[in-house]
Amino acid sequence: MLQIRCPWCGPRDEPEFRYGGEAHLRFPGNEADPAAWARFLYYRDNPAGAYRERWVHTAGCRQWFHVIRDTTSHRILGSYRLDEPPERAR
């Protein structure tokens, strides 16, 4: 079971959160061409190593935020708010 630091509420156990997959995706807008649209809908980065991902603190403050986590070890390198750059991860 992971323990994740919510940038607002502090460290909490994983069941308080919901996973949101790859972070920093850009909504391509409804004008996207079919390939770009399929990309956005169905394709996510899946690195073995540090991964920037989104979580939401559903059982707490309900805020979305970002986490950098190593997918090979589950080690969490930090979390940061939506309006912060990844370098601010703590």
Partner: protein, 920 residues
């Protein structure tokens, strides 16, 4: 073996008795089942799984691979407990097992609980290293949890006679544990095993609480802790290894450290012992037992026995060097009778009751192995420190470092003086003594799974080169103790036999480090506490009215309200008729409700819903639906505008949480600039639908001041109103097609308002209606239920909601523009009428165009809703059908198990197509 005196762990003042295989035995408080059996001379505990060979106790701890017992009786009976880790209590009932357990039907009164714990430093293992670590870590005030799996502190110090600061080591243990007990921020738990290592320094502990036979119904017998620590120190020590030789599984063959443990802790000793050792540490057993008057002889595998061996000789112990046990001889019962040895060219046989084997030590790392990349501090014997002095210093240093790392100072602990240190030379590594006659089918590597050296050979011969295949081919290491002692031996012996330069290593270790009863994993979450039951404010009234409930997610919702003697079909027909011809009321409080506020609320909803909601006027409601990004139907509901910047949105019961989360996700991540906020108000409101031609009369009588006239309060109007004296909201929405009012009041008044409405309706014969009648009524109007009449492929266009789509942008629009959504053979929601109006098709029935085709048939659709309709006087339903709208007026077929039913595809609106009835 016999008890010659009380040991340091047993209390002669507290005798107890227990039953083993039906016979009563006496023992002392502090005994384990294993020591209790040994003290009573029980040598055979069970039999081996494959070969049925007799097996006895071989260890004194968690590595036990022989002595398995079924503990307790009836429903409280627990299979496959290791006799070495069961603490005896008075009245305990146990019987011996091979490696298969038994499940016993019956009530289990025992209770199991869970608990969360938090600390700065968690120390696993209460031996010298762990005690020192906990002591040092807590000195500066850090919160420390220290756990020890056995019933006593001190670890190896219970079996090894050592001096610390000039006094017996156990005095040091007492002093340290007293210090720890006096520190308020220290939690020291015995009988507690660290079982699972979680990410981010979480550890699951299993605590054994005092038990009685039979268990009482109040006091839990076990507790599962989930601990979050800021630092973890692992001081789990080392396990003594055995040596594999022919017939090494006889009852009487034991680990040397275990023999010593039973003597010191429980006062139990055999009459004669042969010690087979590869190292100096084994001699401790010889020396201690000789003092107890036991006849001890030593076989030392090393060429040169060194000073300790000389010391043994000086004390009159017979010692052979360069000597190995080549096999054992058994008596007629299969019990150990003698050790056969080979010493250089000399062969011989020494009779003995116990053959104590000292094969060196193996760090016990089953906890950290579960998460190899955790930053646990491993100390003491677990880290390969063999001398007590090093173990103590290692523990102290780790404790200080751990406390400092989490921000606590330490007063610089005084370093205990150990001595005189046990003189030792490194042992020799010896995993196996080849069978003299070459027959390795009785040389056991995994005693529990009956895996022999011959078995390993077979696997290697088959081409197996990986230790993981070796495990799966032979099953070595897959038993209850998960190969704590066998895994390393299997890997090492196999490497040896392959002559491979790269050692095979050991197979993967996994959680837990000790078996955990399922009941403990569930904890309190059983029976009524398994999962919440959510009920609405009017629930007590539904219960009183005899409602039959249906689980909808966690909610209980009335399915129908049978009168005495009524079947479900009769009740549903009556309820539906009441809506169509009179008036009826239903509890819709479980609908999801979300309030959307802010200057940009309208824009926000426009982006989410298919329809344009910014054009909705204050005081008006609109039926609306939303898509997922892939263009399939997500949810539908009613959107009401309470003020220019305030909307009240309903969702289906099942999607209340997901729609709310969906809104929040887009609001926060994509549209952070919109001035809009969402709040879930599902439980703020109780919602009741009063439906039927007489609805106005009923509602008017509880809301006398409100203009409910057709003109004054038109369809899809919303307004604040005082209902039964309570301020609330009224809306004219209808899911049944009849005149209907939705009454919303704060849920704290829900029950009172429900009762008031019922009372008001009684003179008109108002009925209650449930989900079944609702499903029927709305289907007659062709209104769909998302998830029932749609599935993961259904787009709003397929569902007949295409009319909602406005020319603005909304989530999912891009997908709907894709070619696949314009195909004419998509499954579309249509109505159907069975050719025989008495036949009600089962929901889920499939349609085919040609019922005579062979299987697999080409299916063109399926029934999503099907009912007999008292209003239509016939059966009817809704279906998703390929190219369904083009098939209206055509006949298709539903091949059922026993017959095939022809049905006509029709428009999905069956009742009041003109919509004349909704205004009453």
């Amino acid at each position: 073996m016999r008890r010659l005196r009380p040991g340091t762990a047993t209390d002669p003042a507290k005798p107890l008795s227990f039953r083993w295989n039906g016979t009563a035995f006496d023992a002392l408080a502090g005994d384990t089942l294993a020591s209790g059996l040994l003290a009573n001379g029980v040598r055979v505990v069970g039999s081996s799984v494959s070969f049925g060979r007799p097996r006895g106790v071989m260890s004194a701890g968690l590595e036990e691979a022989h002595a398995f017992a079924q503990i307790g009786e009836g429903g409280a009976s627990e299979p496959l407990m290791r006799a070495t880790t069961v603490d005896l209590h008075h009245g305990l009932v146990a019987r011996g097992l091979s490696t298969k357990g038994t499940l016993v039907q019956g009530d289990d009164p025992a209770r199991f609980e869970k608990r969360h714990g938090h600390c700065d430093v968690l120390v696993v293992g209460g031996g010298p290293a762990g005690l020192a670590a906990a002591w040092a870590a807590s000195a500066g005030g850090a919160r420390v949890i220290l756990v020890e799996t056995t019933a006593r502190w001190g670890g190896a110090l219970g079996r090894d006679l050592e001096l610390i600061d000039g006094a017996p080591a156990l005095a040091w243990v007492d002093r340290i544990t007293r210090d720890l007990a006096a520190r308020p921020e220290v939690t020291a738990l015995r009988r507690t095993t660290a079982a699972v290592s979680l990410d981010q320094n979480g550890v699951v502990l299993v605590e054994r609480l005092p038990e009685t036979t039979p268990p009482d119904r109040i006091r839990p017998i076990r507790r599962l802790w989930q601990v979050r620590a800021r630092a973890v120190v692992v001081a789990t020590g080392a396990l003594e290894r055995g040596v594999v030789f022919q017939d090494n599984d006889r009852p009487g063959v034991m680990l040397a450290s275990a023999v010593r443990s039973y003597w010191h802790l429980h006062g139990i000793a055999p009459a004669t012992v042969v010690l087979f050792t590869t190292n100096d540490d084994g001699y401790r057993t010889a020396f201690d037992l000789v003092e107890a008057g036991v006849l001890v002889r030593v076989l030392d595998a090393r060429e040169s026995i060194g000073p300790v061996g000389e010391q043994a000789r000086a004390r009159g112990i017979e010692v052979l060097s360069n000597a190995v046990v080549a096999g054992t001889r058994a008596d007629q019962a299969g019990l150990l009778a003698a050790a056969r040895f080979q010493a250089g060219r000399r062969q011989g046989e020494w009779p003995c009751e116990v053959l104590a084997v000292a094969g060196g030590y193996q760090p016990l790392l089953d906890l950290p192995a579960q998460r190899p990349d955790q930053s646990h501090r491993i100390v003491g014997a677990a880290a390969g420190q063999w001398s007590l002095a090093e173990c103590l210093l290692d523990g102290l240093d780790a404790g200080v470092a751990a406390a400092e790392a989490v921000g606590f100072g330490s007063p610089g602990p005084t370093r205990p003086v150990v001595g005189p240190d046990w003189d030792r030379s490194p042992g020799t590594t010896l995993w196996q003594v080849p069978a003299p006659d070459g027959d390795e089918t009785r040389s056991f590597v995994d005693l529990h799974r009956d895996v022999t050296v011959a078995g390993l050979d077979r696997a290697l011969g088959a081409g197996v080169r990986s230790v993981e295949h070796l495990k799966r081919y032979t099953l070595a290491g897959t038993g209850i103790e998960q190969g704590k002692s066998a895994k390393a031996a299997a890997g090492a012996i196999a490497s040896d036999r392959l002559g491979s330069e790269k050692p095979l290593g050991v197979s993967t270790g996994r959680p837990p480090t000790e078996p955990i009863a399922f009941a403990l994993l569930a904890g309190r979450a059983r029976g009524d506490l398994f999962e919440p039951v959510r009920t609405t404010p009017a629930h007590p009234a539904h219960v009183a009215a005899g409602a039959v409930f249906e689980n909808v997610g966690q909610w209980k919702r009335p399915r129908y309200f049978p009168r005495p003697g009524e079947t479900m079909a009769e009740a549903v027909a009556r309820e539906a008729r009441a809506v169509r011809t009179g008036v009826a009321i239903m509890d819709a409080s479980t609908l999801g409700k979300i309030e959307v506020q802010g200057a940009d609320a309208a824009e926000f909803l426009d982006r989410l819903y298919l329809n344009r909601l910014s054009s909705l006027k204050v005081g008006r409601a609109r039926y609306a639906a939303m898509c997922r990004l892939d263009g399939t139907v997500f949810d539908d509901g009613v959107v009401m505008r309470l003020a220019p910047d305030r909307f009240f949105v309903t969702t289906s019961t099942g999607h209340a949480a997901s729609v709310f989360e969906w809104m929040e996700e887009w609001r926060q991540t994509e549209w952070p600039d919109l001035e809009v906020w969402t709040t879930s108000t599902t439980e703020q409101w109780a919602t009741y639908a009063v439906a039927g031609p007489q609805a106005r009369t009923v509602v008017q009588s509880v809301a006398p001041t409100c203009d409910l006239s057709r003109e004054g309060f038109p369809f899809l109007g919303v307004r604040p109103a005082t209902i039964a004296g309570i301020a609330g909201l009224l809306a004219r929405v209808s899911f049944s097609g009849e005149l209907a009012f939705e009454v919303m009041v704060q849920s704290r008044h829900g029950l009172a308002v429900w009762n008031a409405l019922l009372e008001a309706g009684t003179p008109l014969g108002m009925a209650r209606y449930g989900l079944e009648a609702l499903s029927l009524l709305r289907a007659e109007k062709g209104y769909l239920i998302v998830g029932q009449d749609t599935d993961a492929d259904t787009s709003p266009i397929d569902a007949g909601l295409g009319w909602m789509i406005s020319d603005k942008d909304f989530l999912g629009r891009r997908s709907l523009e894709m070619a696949t959504h314009r195909r004419s053979d998509r499954k579309q929601l249509v109505g159907f009428l069975p050719s025989d109006p008495a036949i009600v098709l089962p929901e889920g029935a499939q349609f085919v165009a040609d019922p005579t085709q062979p299987k697999p048939m080409t299916m063109i659709g399926h029934v999503t809703t099907s009912h007999p309709s008292p209003t239509l006087g016939r059966s009817f339903g809704l279906a998703l059908v390929r190219g369904g709208r083009d098939r209206i007026g055509h006949i298709v077929h539903a091949p059922l198990e026993d017959r095939t039913v022809a049905v006509e595809i029709v428009d999905p609106v069956f009742y009041d197509k003109a919509g004349a009835r909704r205004d009453g």
